[in-house]
């Protein structure tokens, strides 16, 4: 088991650490800089869709309402903690009311 865990650590850690040493020692072209700058937005899009649609597998609409709250609050007011707590509460309300069944 230890061999497996240490092996998994190695193949997880190396891709995490190597770029820090490559990027800091290389002069980057404008295009590469833009590529690196765009990665977070592409990553976020892919991390949210389609995973969010099955965040509450038994009742997908509950998660949808929660995430909608986070999106709207983030759009108009910004911040992260309130959108996250609010979305948990909204999801909990829909899940516990069973209201999502009919949506």
């Amino acid at each position: 088991m230890l061999v497996l865990i240490v092996g998994m650590m190695a193949v997880t850690y190396l891709p995490r650490v190597i770029p820090f040493f490559i990027v800091s020692q290389t002069k980057l072209s404008k295009r590469i800089q833009r590529f690196l700058q765009f990665i977070p937005y592409a990553a976020l899009g892919a991390l949210i869709i389609p995973g969010a649609f099955s965040a509450t597998p038994d009742m997908p609409s509950a998660a949808m309402v929660g995430i909608l709250f986070a999106g709207l609050y983030g759009w108009f007011r910004g911040g992260i903690i309130i959108p996250v707590l609010g979305s948990i509460i909204a999801t909990w309300m829909i899940l516990s009311s069973g209201f999502g069944m009919i949506m």
């Binding site: 995490r16 650490v17 590529f35 892919a46 949210i48 869709i49 986070a70 948990i88």
Partner: protein, 237 residues
């Protein structure tokens, strides 16, 4: 004096930014602890998974593959493929990080996850290690604590609460992304394009979900860098 104040401010901001990740990690880490116990993995090994690997999806995958008798070599290879997306994320963070105190870099790199990366990458203004490390290691602490809680207490949280907390990380990703989408058409196109491509790739089952994420991020960011030549995404307010 002023430098010290800035440092404290960054640390405080970092810890605050870590809060949503801490909340989001607890139910997932607990689920990992519970599953590991169910599959007969010892408490020590279970903790070592979370302490040394710290990569949720691949830890679950390892348990699933172990249960069906897949060998260590194959699991390690699958882990490499699944976690290779962090290569892209670390590269992006490295380009944004303005603080290059070398001895902290290995620690900062260890705790790059989808979540810590997202929070750090979209932080307004400069990215310092004083901000990054507290945020990352608050998340790490929650991952370890959640793993132990799950293993020792089982489903201590009511099912409904756990299910509701499952939405936290998606809500966090959304709350991080939305203000950037509001400010920039380029961001909107990139994020939507990535969502669509990732959906097509994962549902068509041409590639595994790990590959789907890597390919999506790589293709969309590269296409963006090619198409939006000369356009800069606003970073500051």
């Amino acid at each position: 004096m002023e430098l010290g104040e800035q440092k404290l401010l960054d640390i405080k901001e970092g810890l605050k930014s870590g809060v949503p990740i801490v909340i989001g990690y607890i139910p997932i880490a607990m689920a990992f602890g519970i599953l590991a116990k169910t599959e007969g993995v010892s408490l020590l090994d279970t903790m070592l998974f979370s302490v040394l690997v710290f990569a949720g999806a691949s830890q679950f995958m390892a348990l699933n593959l172990l249960a069906v008798g897949v060998g260590a070599g194959e699991i390690i290879l699958a882990t490499l493929l699944m976690n290779f997306r962090h290569f892209l994320m670390s590269a992006s963070l490295a380009a944004k990080l303005e603080d290059r105190r070398k001895r902290w870099i290995p620690l900062a790199a260890f705790a790059v996850t989808d979540e810590t990366f997202s929070v750090a990458a979209l932080r307004q203004g400069t990215l310092t290690l004083n901000y990054l490390l507290p945020m990352e290691y608050a998340a790490y602490g929650s991952w370890l604590g959640g793993t132990a809680l799950g293993y020792l207490l089982g489903s201590a949280l009511p099912e409904l609460v756990k299910a509701s907390m499952g939405v936290a990380l998606y809500a966090m990703f959304t709350a991080i992304l939305v203000p950037a989408v509001r400010k920039s058409k380029v961001v909107t196109i990139l994020a939507l394009g990535a969502g669509i491509l990732n959906t097509v790739l994962s549902y068509s089952r041409i590639v595994t979900s790990g590959w789907s994420l890597i390919l999506t991020i790589l293709l969309v960011a590269a296409a963006g860098a090619w198409i939006f030549d000369g356009e800069e995404v606003e970073r500051d307010e």
